[in-house]
């Protein structure tokens, strides 16, 4: 399980197995602008992944977050 998914699942309060890369962020009941910020900040602090402010508007799916971590990993 990717640590990114763990972070997202915890913030959206859903089981980790319940989220897929293709899922739209808007499809989660607990997703809002605050949850978005919490995900961005947790990824930065726990995984060392920095998402630039300029790129944030491009994030719409779970997979968009995953890509940053894979990018950082490579």
């Amino acid at each position: 399980m990717s640590p990114v998914l763990s972070i997202i699942a915890k913030i959206l309060r859903v089981p980790e197995t319940g989220i897929q890369p293709d899922d739209k962020m808007d499809s989660f009941g607990n997703y809002d602008s605050l949850a978005f910020l919490q995900i961005v900040a947790e990824m930065e602090e726990k995984l060392g992944v920095s998402i630039r402010m300029e790129e944030m508007k491009n994030i719409t799916k779970i997979g968009d977050f995953l890509r940053y971590y894979q990018g950082a990993d490579a």
């Binding site: 605050l34 910020l37 919490q38 961005v40 900040a41 930065e44 602090e45 726990k46 402010m53």
Partner: protein, 550 residues
């Protein structure tokens, strides 16, 4: 628990992280902390919070840059909203943050550092309020920032994106601190800290290396143990009982306590010592019995993971924190243990005496063993019970007793200091306190009775009746009740209503009211019992102590 969390920045993310046991009100939109505090009909006070946290960001507080005098005046103006709220709502505790102001302004080296002056000025205002208002408690936000470091505490990105300043790491730290404050407020804490000796209080094994071979010194390596002991001594001075449970020869251990020049803790700092070769769980069980405190009131520290594991397995009620692998961390470790298990808001006179009192109880136990009969033992104690109606200076101790007394407690109603304040002021409530001395020493205030009795009425309702376990089993409750009955009858009251609400721990008083001659009126399936006593027909109470009005 209902809390208000006010701030001049967006704390929604923090608020969302509070566990379900907390109901949190954080204001309508952010930046409204001043109207929330100053209007008595604000959302905050309509919510009737049990506690309010005012967590302020320093940078935003002094946003209006200007002359030093203007900035200080601005701080004072902001602060007076807090003191006004504290004055207006004396029954609500206010945790008020210190402020941290990162110097972000571009400046030259000899430039005036207004940020530091502002932080200090705010601290000064807070200190003044702490002294003047018993319900103002400093919340050291600036200390949390230093602990984590500004770089990790703040997030510029969150600020620009959402008006939030604190990083997720900082929020976790804040949340933990706020929960601890709430626990401390409710008196949720342990009573006794049990310590191992070898490689815990000092380095090395005294049985092998001898008194002068162990590691313990003012400087260098041995200083980590001495620093550890200094913090333990401070913990003891805050009213926590210290005990030793160690596998050792008693003679070797005592030699260290008596002869080692760098021992901070001495024999008489400990309420009890179990130095033998028995199993530690067995020793801890005996301690619980001999000190008359529950196993769930103990915290056990031992460097040996095997011993820790055994105690954890056999006595799951006992808290057994992991011991630091690197003993360089001992001081930080014990500071953490204190905050996690023993943190308190204030120090009462009772706290400082507690250790002596538990020791005296041991001596009383000895006297009991040598008396011919129980009556002879009780009379030989020469007990004197002083009773009076609680005054302002007793409020803290009374609240503490309602929060901590589990066994001899008829209704187990927990009260905050603020609530006891209300009872003491209100005409329809009466709060009686009893303090006890005997030939072994002064036990201080050990009994509380809270009555609801409308002046001019005929009925008295017993809201709470509790006695510290220190004086249980000495029929002091008979004398206490007898005094109060006489007083209320004298004021024209005729009927005394009482109840017993069962908990896991108050079985010792399950039949107390029957014994005291109350008539059982009803009992429900949960075991809650209601009683009546006609004051005109109350039985003669035997007394083993001299009763004095104080």
């Amino acid at each position: 628990m209902k809390l208000g969390v006010l701030s001049n920045i967006n704390l929604d993310s923090l608020v969302r992280k509070f566990p379900d046991a907390f109901a949190v009100y954080s204001g309508e939109g952010f930046g409204t902390w001043i109207p929330e505090l100053s209007r008595t009909d604000s959302g905050l006070f309509s919510f009737s919070p049990e506690v309010v946290f005012v967590v302020l960001d320093g940078e935003e507080l002094v946003r209006v840059a200007g002359e030093k005098q203007e900035v200080m005046a601005e701080l004072e103006e902001n602060f007076q909203y807090i003191t006004a709220a504290a004055r207006e709502h004396p029954s609500i505790p206010f945790f008020v943050s210190t402020i941290d102001i990162p110097p972000s302004r571009i400046s030259f080296l000899r430039d005036e550092r207004m940020e530091h002056a502002a932080e200090c000025h705010w601290r000064g205002l807070l200190e003044k309020a702490r002294v003047s208002f018993p319900n103002v408690i400093p919340f050291d936000l600036a200390q949390l920032v230093s602990h984590l470091g500004r770089e990790r505490f703040y997030s510029r990105k969150l600020w620009y994106l959402g008006g939030m300043k604190f990083s997720m790491t900082a929020e976790s730290l804040l949340l933990e601190e706020m929960e601890r404050c709430c626990d401390a407020l409710r008196g949720i804490r342990k009573k006794c800290l049990i310590l191992d000796l070898d490689n815990t209080l000092w380095g090395g094994v005294v049985g092998e290396e001898g008194v002068h071979g162990i590691e313990l010194s003012e400087f260098q390596q041995g200083a980590r143990f001495k620093d550890f002991q200094k913090r333990l001594k401070e913990i003891k001075q805050l009213g926590v009982l210290l005990a030793v449970v160690s596998k050792n020869n008693l003679g070797d251990a005592l030699e260290v306590f008596r002869d080692h020049p760098h021992m901070v803790l001495r024999e008489d700092d400990f309420t009890a010592m179990k130095v033998n070769w028995n199993r530690k769980a067995q020793n801890i069980r005996e301690l619980a019995e001999e000190l008359n405190i529950g196993l769930d009131s103990f915290v056990f520290l031992d460097d040996n993971p095997v011993e820790r594991g055994l105690v954890k397995q056999e006595l799951p009620e006992v808290e057994v924190p992991a011991f630091p692998e690197d003993t360089a961390q001992l001081q930080e470790f014990i500071q953490g243990v204190y905050r996690k298990f023993f943190l308190k808001i204030d120090l009462t006179e009772e706290d400082t005496k507690k250790h002596l009192q538990y020791r005296q109880n041991f001596q009383r136990e000895q006297a009991k063993k040598t008396s011919a009969s129980f009556e002879e033992f009780l009379l030989g104690l020469q007990t004197r019970l002083t009773i009076w109606e609680a005054r302002e200076q007793d409020v803290r101790r009374v609240a503490q007793l309602t929060q901590k007394t589990n066994q001899f407690n008829l209704t187990t109603k927990r009260y905050l200091e603020s609530e006891i304040h209300e009872f003491v002021r209100a005409r329809e409530y009466r709060v009686f306190v009893g303090s006890v001395t005997d030939r072994f020493g002064d036990s201080g205030i050990v009994g509380v009775m809270i009555l609801k009795a409308e002046p001019g009425g005929t009925d008295v309702f017993l809201d709470s009746f509790l006695m510290s376990c220190r004086v249980m089993g000495r029929f002091i409750e008979d004398s206490f009740l007898g005094f109060v009955e006489k007083r209320m009858a004298g004021e024209g009251f005729g009927v005394f209503h009482a109840q017993y609400l069962p908990t896991n721990k108050n079985k010792p008083v399950r039949s107390l009211l029957e014994r005291l001659g109350f008539a059982l009126v009803s009992e429900d399936p949960e075991g809650r019992k209601k009683y009546l006593l006609e004051l005109g027909k109350k039985p003669e109470r035997k007394s083993f102590c001299e009763v004095v009005e104080g």
